[in-house]
Symmetry: C2
């Protein structure tokens, strides 16, 4: 076989894998959003069968030879094809690093622990899942060791690499270290400063769900979402699913608080716009996928936090929500309205945290998950360690496991190494938004009129369209001249919350 033929065969395999993974994505969405409960058992069997077929394609023994053969003709490939071959190789190395027994044990154990977690969280008792969780930690340790061995990485770094290629502990520690020193003090200052301001009158519900739905759709349209290429629905946990040309966002409405669903929708729209902006020609190939979770989160946070919570866009929102709910009054206008939605507080729950305190929640998890995997921390010690660290970082202590180490599903579904991407995404969002503001004259005027047109066009060119052709650092250097860094984020926090 010629190198060109080998490469073409690899692309054909990837197209097959992409079709199956797209089908899985729709089935997953259906399960979370509209499937009646009776369909659960058969759906598990459907998705397991498709996952098995997908795994079979990705680990097909012929691929190793095809990759070598195609590599011999790498000079004949164009830049995108060459990058694609690199991504195919990366994927193959990861997919074949784990033996079938371990993959199966992980799948079974994860599904068991996930279910047990739901029960334990409801019962508010970590002790209920300590034993199965211990087993899962052991399997993840084994997974990390196998991946690390195959990739030449430290075990935890091999897990990080699965969420954000090339990301390592050393980088994260360097990025987090300054923050760990500065952020608690900044948080104190912001809370103090906000306490000294006049308190805006409370915004009270109810906000009827049909009106919230219509508002969400309208704002999504303002942000550039194309309802011919996607949907908005409802699910217990909001997510963005589907495929680039059929992007499925979900949200969850609360009658008493419209803002949570609305900002959640803007967040998911950011994820969705990244996917829909990936280059169409490469949709079915690895090089055409989103770069990683850091870049993904940077897009959701750019939409939600950087642009979405800018005073200019909140000003625009205040008009839209008044119209949506037929409300008026001083609490719905001007600085008071902005202050309501810039409120910073110490809280126990990550998903409700504001952008100032959020990184502290992440750093806590980053430290603890490494300690769990290395064995420095036992599962039995987790609750205590969590609560101590929370007190140390945020100055508050959970009184229950539900508000502590049981609050997030990640670890209980086997995802270790994911948490850091949230905060690294926030760093990247701040860097990218600063670059966008420098590149687009008077971007604030657009936002105050609810227009994302110019911002989106700029993101399409500078971020979305680059897909996995470049690394995260290369993409960031391209638009900011800098690699991933926390200073733009810290500047942003000081500017927004301390006017400095």
């Amino acid at each position: 076989m010629t190198p060109a033929k080998a490469y073409a065969e690899l692309e054909a395999q990837e197209r097959r894998a992409s079709a199956i993974s797209g089908a899985l994505s729709i089935l997953h969405w259906d399960k979370a959003v509209i499937m009646p409960s009776g369909g659960a058992e058969a759906r598990v069997a459907q998705m397991a069968e498709l996952s098995l077929i997908l795994h079979g394609i990705r680990t097909d023994p012929s691929r190793g030879d095809l990759i070598s053969e195609a590599g011999e003709g790498a000079d004949e490939l164009d830049d995108w094809q060459r990058a694609n071959l690199g991504e195919i190789k990366r994927g193959f190395r990861r997919a074949t690093a784990l033996n079938t027994d371990l993959v199966e044990a992980l799948t079974n154990c994860t599904s068991k622990v996930e279910m047990a977690w739901r029960v334990a969280r409801e019962a508010d008792d970590f002790a209920d899942i300590a034993k199965p969780f211990q087993e899962l930690v052991g399997l993840v340790r084994e997974e990390a060791a196998c991946l690390g061995g195959a990739l030449g990485l430290d075990p935890y770094d091999a897990l990080l690499d699965g969420f954000e290629p090339g990301l390592g502990t050393e980088t994260i520690e360097a990025l987090f270290s300054g923050l760990k020193d500065a952020l608690p003090g900044l948080l104190d200052d912001v809370i103090e400063a906000q306490a000294a301001e006049p308190q805006p009158p409370e915004i009270k519900g109810p906000f009827p769900v049909p009106a919230q739905r219509a508002l969400s759709r309208r704002i999504m349209t303002d942000l550039g979402f194309d309802f011919d290429r996607g949907r908005l629905d409802e699910s217990h946990h909001p997510f963005t699913g589907g495929i680039p040309d059929d992007s499925r966002i979900t949200t969850r409405y609360h009658e008493e608080d419209f803002f949570q669903a609305l900002m959640g929708t803007i967040h998911e729209t950011g994820h969705s716009m990244y996917e829909s902006g990936l280059p169409e020609k490469w949709h079915a190939q690895p090089v055409g996928q989103a770069r990683g979770m850091v870049m993904h989160e940077s897009q959701s946070l750019l939409f939600e936090m950087q642009a979405g919570r800018s005073p200019e866009f909140i000003g625009y929102l205040s008009q839209a929500v008044r119209a949506a709910f037929d409300r008026n009054g001083p609490e719905w206008r001007g600085e008071g309205f902005v202050r309501t939605y810039h409120k910073v507080e110490r809280g126990l729950i990550r998903v409700y945290a504001d952008e100032v305190s959020y990184p502290l929640h992440v750093m806590l998890r980053f430290d603890l998950e490494r300690a769990l995997l290395s064995g420095d921390l036992s599962v039995a010690e987790l609750t205590g360690a969590w609560n101590d660290k929370m007190e140390n970082l945020l100055g508050i202590r959970p009184e229950t496991d539900r508000d502590g180490c049981l609050q997030d599903i990640h670890w209980y579904s086997g995802a270790f190494g994911y948490f850091p991407t949230y905060t690294l995404g926030a760093f990247a969002a701040a860097q990218i938004f600063a670059a966008a503001r420098a590149a687009i004259p008077n971007l604030e005027d657009d936002l105050s009129q609810g227009s994302f047109t110019r911002l989106l066009a700029w993101l399409r060119t500078n971020i979305h369209g680059k897909a996995s052709r470049y690394s995260t650092d290369e993409i960031l250097r391209g638009v900011t001249g800098q690699p991933l860094d926390s200073s733009a984020f810290m500047d942003h926090l000081k500017h927004r919350y301390l006017n400095s």
Copy 2:
């Protein structure tokens, strides 16, 4: 390999096939009901890939040997397993009868002609698709010849067998011959008798869609539909999709006419109840599937025509619809209301036809599709032959192709041999309902109160639960003592429409 192991391996392959085919069913539903248009291209790729994998499982060369080996131990199998092995063998013979080139040519040509049909129907000109349709007829002829050769059947019978196992032209001709003589006269008599009756006042809309939706859900619940095991949604063409434990019915509402959507929903509910009543233990095996399209249609027509349009159930409906639309007046009550929905008319369109004239539409298609396949009728002659036959059978002549040979998608999607199952299903429905009335004392009282509980329990035992363990004739003989026959249907028409 021992026969027991061979049989177990076949069951395992079928479970895999069932998972993939279930996934395809959900993807198909999604495409018809909620997919945004942008997702179409990727969805085609997803479904093609899964179909290819499914075809690969079904035609795997190892299966022939496994089937032979398992057959050697057939005495050790229980009745259901033995019937399952028979169905597996049947499926394998059909799946391997066509070579890959022909399957691919059929798939491509069908998809081309289907699209062309939409355009031609819109433009109301059969000439637009005569050429590609000619090509499709040629391919279907080839398909029928290959299947016939493999199964030892006449070509058209081999197509019939794909929709209703064991059904042959001779049987249909015998069943249709009496009807062809008697039905036109009966139709004259009914129309004359109805003209002599006092005409009920017209029932006028609008009927708001949300109220229609709520009414449909309520009536479905009365019929025994379990919304934890299924859904009701909307699509351009109503259908029943999904899988037995997640049965997805669609309908289409018209503001001016609530009855069409309501009776359509009752029809699809009949299909759905058959699927949901299949034996759970055998859901993933061929023997656990619905017997064929005759039995399937018998269940939808038993719900819609036999029970659903009985004067007793229409009486119940008249209360439910008055409440749903907050209406009253003489046209909503008593005999007048029943007469409105028992109206018999000569019409050009099959899907709008009443149950008296419907078989004439089917017989027309049965004759013409055989003539097309045998070559006795050329594609160029189709329009003329259609119009002549319509005039001959129903006494009316289409003025346009849209009202004539372009009205149904079946032939243009390659489905020849399907039409007869509609009318054979109507025969079976009449036979089964007569047996149910004999077996369930005062069934009419149940229907007048909107209760399907006893009827459904009887169908579960006598029809649904038998799945493909028995042939259609065996199932019918079991409950009526007779094979498939038209006399119960004719008795039913005379009783309902001529009071005789």
